[in-house]
Symmetry: C2
Subunit: 490 residues, 2 copies
């Protein structure tokens, strides 16, 4: 895997695929649209999982696990839901194989299921069926459950991490006694995602509300955080849904209120997925390969000893081991003492893999009891004394994260544009970026814009609502109802 990356300016899509391949993050599998998360890629997701799980716990949620098979008939119980998911469902129809006449195996016709099962594309239906068994009275509420799981949405056109037939995600499903409590929960989780994206992914996002046509199938309101990729496209990074009483009604889940009345339960659901790994890659990486915030980096520090003679090797490798021992209870540290590879080749390889900090150790560094530090973000290399190295590395990690976030915030701020009318919108859109525009809510107009430009309403950003007062829609000229963020998106 020594091929150089395609540069971003030459072909952004190919750069992304090259990077994933050379950093060994993922690989194609023999099943169309399903990818293999290789150890380097899975480790990034695993760190996200840890960080999210802690945040979910701190906001009162517990984990559970529901079956991945869902009776086909469940999907039809909520009208919008079936509309949204029926076209992308993997369907299980048999439960046994038998020897095939020409060799090999085939589904055994006698094992055909009475009712086919679908593999969960999302779990509202089976979870609300179960909630119906568990909820009797207001005392059983709220239920605040999260699930870590794999889901399947059959995709015709896939891209590693961003859109795959099977993917890993978490899905929160909560049940509440009142509408207000459910809305508060949906908004709380939106901000959990927003803060997580900043603090862990170093990725600023714009929190907002989806337009009706972009809502989750079955939701009353969909909240979203939208991020900006380096090519000027948007990416939906996480969503949180206020589901009203739609699923409670479909699955007949009611509770006895303190008043004695029976009422339908209010619901939310919210999720983020392995697509966040793709989002992180596209937010921070460069033409030399992967760049990762230190919290997510599978290897945070690599030590590269440099020697010419065997005597020097013994000296620097021994010293490097001591440095590693000092760091390893605080950081994920690798020591690259491979023979037969020049230091430059090692630097190149670790840069591609996105290790934030490289510590070089030559005989002179040993003599001065220091290491020579190079950041993945470039800049001048610096000597660091080995005494107090843990603190020095920690502060460099923090600065690294802050610098990634600063750069991304700068790009995001610079990308938000305005235009006066649809004609200039179409011209400017070709240069990429996010367009914050006064808009009169209208699904037909939205569809026309999408068809003509491939741009969609990413969200109505929360912080800009109100600014449309007194303005007219850039498309229809009617009085504006929202400030809408338009962009092309992954």
């Amino acid at each position: 895997m020594d091929a150089a990356l395609t540069s971003r300016s030459k072909d952004y899509s190919q750069w992304y695929l090259d990077l994933i391949s050379t950093a060994e993050l993922a690989d194609y599998s023999p099943v169309k649209g399903c990818m293999v998360l290789r150890p380097n890629g899975y480790a990034i997701w695993d760190q996200m999982r840890l960080e999210l799980d802690r945040r979910f716990r701190e906001t009162g949620h517990v984990n559970a696990y529901f079956p991945m098979f869902i009776p086909m008939s469940f999907l039809s119980k909520e009208a919008d839901h079936v509309e949204g998911f029926a076209k992308e469902c993997a369907v299980v129809t048999h439960h046994r194989l038998r020897a095939a006449p020409g060799g090999g195996v085939e589904p055994d016709p006698e094992s055909k299921l009475e009712e086919p099962l679908i593999v969960r594309p999302t779990s509202e239906t089976i979870i609300w069926h179960m909630y119906g068994k568990w909820i009797q009275s207001w005392r059983d509420l709220p239920i605040l459950i999260n699930q870590w799981a794999n889901v399947v949405r059959w995709e015709m056109k896939t891209r590693p991490f961003l859109r795959t037939t099977e993917f890993l995600w978490q899905e929160g499903h909560t049940a509440h006694a009142t509408s207000q409590e459910a809305v508060e929960e949906a908004e709380r989780m939106l901000w959990v995602y927003h803060d997580f994206a900043r603090e862990v992914l170093a990725m600023p996002t714009l929190p907002g509300v989806k337009s009706a046509s972009e809502r989750f199938a079955g939701a009353v309101e969909t909240y979203t955080i939208e991020a900006l990729m380096q090519n000027g496209w948007a990416l939906q990074a996480g969503t949180s849904h206020f589901l009203g009483q739609n699923f409670a009604k479909a699955f007949e889940v009611s509770f006895q209120a303190p008043s004695g009345e029976r009422e339908f339960v209010w619901a939310t659901s919210w999720g983020v997925s392995t697509r966040l790994v793709g989002a992180v890659i596209m937010t921070h990486s460069d033409d030399a390969g992967l760049v990762l915030p230190p919290i997510l980096a599978p290897t945070q520090v690599v030590i590269v000893p440099i020697w010419k003679t065997d005597a020097e090797k013994e000296l620097v490798v021994g010293f490097a081991r001591a440095v590693q021992a000092q760091l390893k209870s605080s950081f994920r540290v690798a020591l690259d003492d491979r023979d037969g590879l020049k230091p430059g080749a090692k630097y190149y390889e670790w840069e591609r893999r996105g290790v934030p900090l490289r510590l070089e150790v030559g005989p002179r560094d040993v003599a001065s009891n220091a290491v020579f530090a190079a950041s993945r973000l470039g800049g001048k290399k610096e000597g660091i004394p080995v005494d107090g190295l843990v603190d020095a590395v920690r502060s460099r990690m923090e600065a690294f994260h802050a610098e990634l976030l600063r750069r991304a915030e700068e790009r995001l701020a610079a990308s938000i544009k305005s235009v006066d009318d649809y004609a200039s919108f179409k011209v400017e859109l070709e240069k990429g970026g996010l367009f914050l525009l006064p808009w009169s809510d209208n699904a037909a107009n939205e569809a026309k814009i999408k068809e003509e430009t491939r741009a969609t309403i990413r969200c109505y950003p929360l912080k800009n609502q109100g600014e449309q007062a007194g303005k007219t829609c850039f498309y229809s000229g009617e009085p504006a109802t929202h400030m809408a963020l338009f962009a092309r998106a992954y």
Copy 2:
């Protein structure tokens, strides 16, 4: 859920089901054989996962994720493997639903897959397909990968945790340059499981080798740890397989050795699953409900304030909160200050849920700045001063684990029996227990014994091999080849 448990002596199977239901560990789902892991049950598995993951990391393994769909033809590539799994495979045949004539939905015939997919019953086939892409030379070896995943084995007769159609597990899959290295890996992971069972589950196990008929489909050798349940049945708690070159040959995975020769790769796989939750329940719990080793308990300490008047309530609840604050950075602590429930009812409920330690706080305890501690294992209640409470609780947790392990070891030692001949074996077997017997390896005899008695060879225990020297088989009278452990098993 206030129904009392069936006692173990009255109906052990029903006791197990009652316990799972009243402690809210799992629930039945609308899909036959698939269970819901409720938060209390999932939390136990989650703790096991954390502990295992650390042990896997410490032995050099990394996590990855492979697709759950496997092309049907892959299964046939290894002859024993297809034989073992074809009869229990969920088969995906379509990828879309359409509106059905009479309402609802049905699989869209136009979405029929050219080649059906099976849902992984285990992942050797897809993983070895991928290893074929990744392994070229001896420098690429070893590969030491673990996966956390759900798998499906279609079961006709299921029991929560112990045998379900879908279950959660981890599966390690390693690739090595030599047979010796692979055997060492398989044995290493057997001992990782053994130590994990002792240190985390407080469950002693007997490590051994499976007879040929009990081997994993495709393995050259299967190692196992066998545990004893309280009713005298055995339970296979974890297995580790030396796969030889079977999968490397089936998927044509070879490497260039330092000599320049191409050789097939050597393999292992190893796994444990959510069945361990069932094993823990059956090892420690009693007629009052769940008993858990503290490491696994979702709630380790519950504080129950006791009051009569409102003034007392304010006093004891305030005190209890301070106690909780002191403990909560070291333990998972709950405070039960619910109104309208008598202390006795609270005790009863927390006992059923398996909380190891209960701290009662009444007005007199507040006055003496102490709490009153009751162990889930019974014994005298003791006052503990609030000063130094963290250490006192920690030492009680350690003692609790040690006591569970001691009791289980005592039961295990007492359960191992010997008999002189097959006639007495049949009589004694009805009383339960594990039978360590000189045996002459013979698959036909093994099958006959299983048919007549439902007992199987759980393993050839490692520590007893050699003891058969000079003895004759208890069944056939031929010279013994092994010491075999016979039992009825889950």
